[in-house]
Amino acid sequence: MADTRDFLLEIGTEEMPSAPLMNASAQLGKLVASELDAAGLVHGEVRVISSPRRLAALVPAVATATDEVHEVRRGPAASIAFDESGSPTKAAQGFARKCGVEAGDLVRRVDSDGREYVFAERSVPSAPAMPILSELSERVIASLQWPNYRSQRWGSTHQTFVRPIRWICALLGDEVVPVSYADVTSGNVTRGHRVLAPGDHLVAEAADYERTLEKAFVLSAERRAEAIREGIARVESERGGAHVDTPRRIFDEVVNLCEWPTVLVGTFDEEFLSVPHEIICESMLSNQRYFPIYDASGALTREFVVVSNADPRVSETVIAGNEKVVRARLDDAKFFYDEDLKRPMEEFVERLGTVTFQERLGTMLQKVERMECLAAAVARQAGCDEEGVASAARAAHLAKADLVSQAVVEFTNQQGVMGGYYAAAAGEPAEVCDAIREHYRPRFAGDELPSGTCGRCVAVADKLDTVCGIFAIDEPPTGSSDPYAVRRAAIGIIAMLRTLPGCDLRQLIGLALGSYAVQGLEFDLESVSAAVVQFFQGRLVAIAREEGLSPDTIEAVSSVGVIDPIEFMARARALEDARSQDAETFDALAQAYARAAHLADASLGTEVDEGMLADAERALLAACDEGSERVRCALAAGDFSAAITALAGLKAPIDRFFDDVLVMDEDTAVRENRLRLLNRFVEVFSGVANIGALSRKK
């Protein structure tokens, strides 16, 4: 076993963006470890140390040379390894290739079992680590990926990285590992914090790296996160039970915007607290990366946390500067909000006539008109009383008004939220205000739904209008492109309809498309509506799969054309449960059904001449009649389990029928009568599930 030393590869750069940096940090450790393994260099656990200006891998106890390898492998028996002329056979050649030696170098020897075999012997001498580490480092730098981002060139070089590389510190123990990439050559120096310890700092040996960094006012990502959390905890405890809001994404970014963090507190003027807090917080979090502070009662305070990367002694300047920026921003926000409040919402609604919804689908005002009609229909179907229906229509009427308000033009993310405020200020009822505020939900998978029925009706109307419009102009989403987020809209609609029993999606699609037609959009109603139905079916299938239902169960339900989410799921569950309780019956029933459906000829109809029937046939007919009646009652009661149990009851009669009766009788009349009976049998299933789908996977 060779000596070991610590290995350091530090890639020094100009300030890297946070998300790609975090992604690359995760890659770096794995890359270095797998490269060391592949090179046969024994090593300790790789640690990654990163800051905006560096990405480093520190590996303890890396062998200074690879182990010497001596390998002997036994191959085929000598008798089959050589032909009559003594040349190696295909078997011998294959074995040699596998072992990485020439066939001529195979050795014949008698093994312990007394038989003669060929052996491959391979010796790889120990190789020094240094050249291996050089090559490995260059490969690692070049192979870091920047997903969802781009890398760049700089200067006159043609290699790329996420930002220009300015230095490389590469050491094995105290020796520099020669590495060059783009226009940079490695050395034994790192660089310190830009103002607290500018310039080069010698790293005497790899093991000293983190100590050297800390002396140069640079902390690792973990230490920075810890320092910021500690600072925030202090701020909270000094304010007795206060809470600092640190959304993950912003927190990660703040950690990667500094090398030596100092947690400071700034203040904005009292008057801004009258501005909707969503705007204040967005302005602080997204634009400035400040963390808002809430008091013990949960109320937003005038104070905010700002994390500085400056010399702690200039904190006062830093706070004053940031307060000035926040004042200017909040001044803007307050101005916009106050101006918006001076205008009646009806005026905003009218101005929606100047805003394009989609080039071929007209203005936002037209969309709002369609939404009003649709939201009322959803509310009615969902069982709202007249007041509820009127509220849904009213909320839909006002839902998009804030898009032309100054506050939303400036703070786009607050669409809906601002409308809620303006509606409340205008004295609209609470459920209307809530519906306006929440009608963009669910905005992503797993997002909350609008809290009330009114909001859900408006949200369904908004999204369904978009889905139908996009299909009407024949721009449905494809695998790679869904610019109007139609897929997400459909998933949202399904999630909401699952909470609104009574809604008939097929009818709503018809209404939505009808509104476009009334407004003069030209399209083929029948084919578009079929395409939308099919699209929803596709989403339902995907959702049902995610919820663990088996694909053939889903297909059985899907292929009878059910698209109402509640019913779809209830049927699929009932069928799945019935199958799992009595697999044998369902397998047999599925096969019989598939056979019957295959033979059945719909053109013959279902009128059976009872006089021509034999016993087994009569029994099947009776079972079909009884089954249909039970299915009808069960479906009327919404009891899918009962419907499926009724279908299961047909298993014995159909089996007996196929056992006893030859369907394809030579006599046409007999044959056709039997086919009519099979039609009748198939018909019983048609409203419930395509049981035949269950037989296909077998």
Binding site: E14, G155, S156, P164, V195, D311, T317, G321
Partner: protein
């Protein structure tokens, strides 16, 4: 304002002197309406081709839709950028930049200076780059971009573009809340000449013109005429006059936009037309000028 705080003009002079000392050719603004310092030929066209180039210049920028009749303390339809181009970008460009802040009285050691990811893309120029907005105590003071493509062409070597928002920085240095209160210079008797004295009337008149008066039909015509003229120049292999026409088209488009005279569809189409001629100019400049210069330089070396 204390006497040792820089006036607006001192700030420009200090930046010019500083970057001149770094080997920049001090240029003057492009003498036609441009929407940003980037549009100056000294940036767009000189970024192309292999020749080394360093320049700095202040550039008045016109953004007709941003006018607020001089009533908003921060927004104007005419404002200044200070532009620096270093090609190829040197390894110490960030240090040079930090030095320039010190040169205008903003010692980086006394503030919190941050390089915050902000990538740049100009659909009109067919250009993009990676870089940052530079924050000083939370305020954005500079755009810092490594160009990668200009006019749809990969730049090689890579220039770095440093663009200072002059008014904003001056407001910070001078501690005023309205741009119109900035001290531009002093009369001999010590009376301050403010930014408002110099430009307030300009903001009022041009806001009225941009939003209410500009002749829409004339602007449409002007766009079409200059677009045609651009093609004519290109046929005569004159990329610089052709590029001048691009700026005219771009400004006519901005005015039409401010007048609210273009629909969303038209808008996209106008932008596409500007991009098309801008790219043609870049290609022509590279073929006629930038690549040829390189040939000459090499010949010179051989001789």
């Amino acid at each position: 304002m204390s006497k040792d705080v820089l006036t607006f003009q001192d700030m420009i002079l200090a930046l010019e002197r500083y970057w001149a000392s770094c080997g920049c050719t001090v240029m003057q603004p492009y003498d036609s309406e441009v929407g940003a310092g980037t549009f100056h030929t000294a940036t767009t066209l000189r970024s192309l081709g292999p020749a080394a180039w360093r320049t700095c210049y202040p550039q008045p920028c016109r953004r007709p839709a941003d006018g607020r009749y001089g009533e908003n303390p921060n927004r104007m339809q005419h404002y200044y950028q200070f532009q620096v181009i270093l090609k190829p970008c040197p390894a110490d460009s960030q240090d040079l930049y930090l030095g320039s802040l010190a040169a205008i009285g903003l010692d980086p050691a006394e503030h919190d200076v941050r390089f915050v990811e902000d990538d740049w893309e100009s659909p009109t120029l067919g250009a993009w780059g990676l870089g940052w907005e530079v924050w000083m105590d939370g305020m954005e003071v500079t755009q810092y971009t490594y160009f990668q493509q200009v006019g749809g062409i990969e730049v090689d070597p890579v220039p770095v573009e440093i663009t200072y928002g002059l008014e904003r920085i001056a407001m910070y240095i001078q501690g005023v809340d309205s741009v119109f209160d900035l001290v531009w210079s002093y009369l001999p008797d010590g009376t301050p000449m403010t930014y408002g004295d110099v430009f307030l009337e300009n903001e009022r008149e041009f806001s009225a013109y941009n939003f209410e008066v500009a002749d829409v039909e004339m602007m449409r015509q002007k766009f079409d005429d200059y677009e045609r003229e651009c093609h004519s120049c290109l046929e005569h292999r004159l990329p610089l006059p052709a590029y001048d026409c691009v700026m005219k088209c771009s400004h006519a488009f901005n005015l039409l936009d401010a007048r609210g005279a273009i629909s969303a569809t038209e808008r996209a189409n106008y932008i596409l037309r500007v991009r098309t001629i801008a790219k043609l100019c870049c290609e022509s400049y590279l073929a006629e000028v930038a690549a040829k210069n390189d040939g000459d330089a090499k010949k010179g070396e051989v001789a």
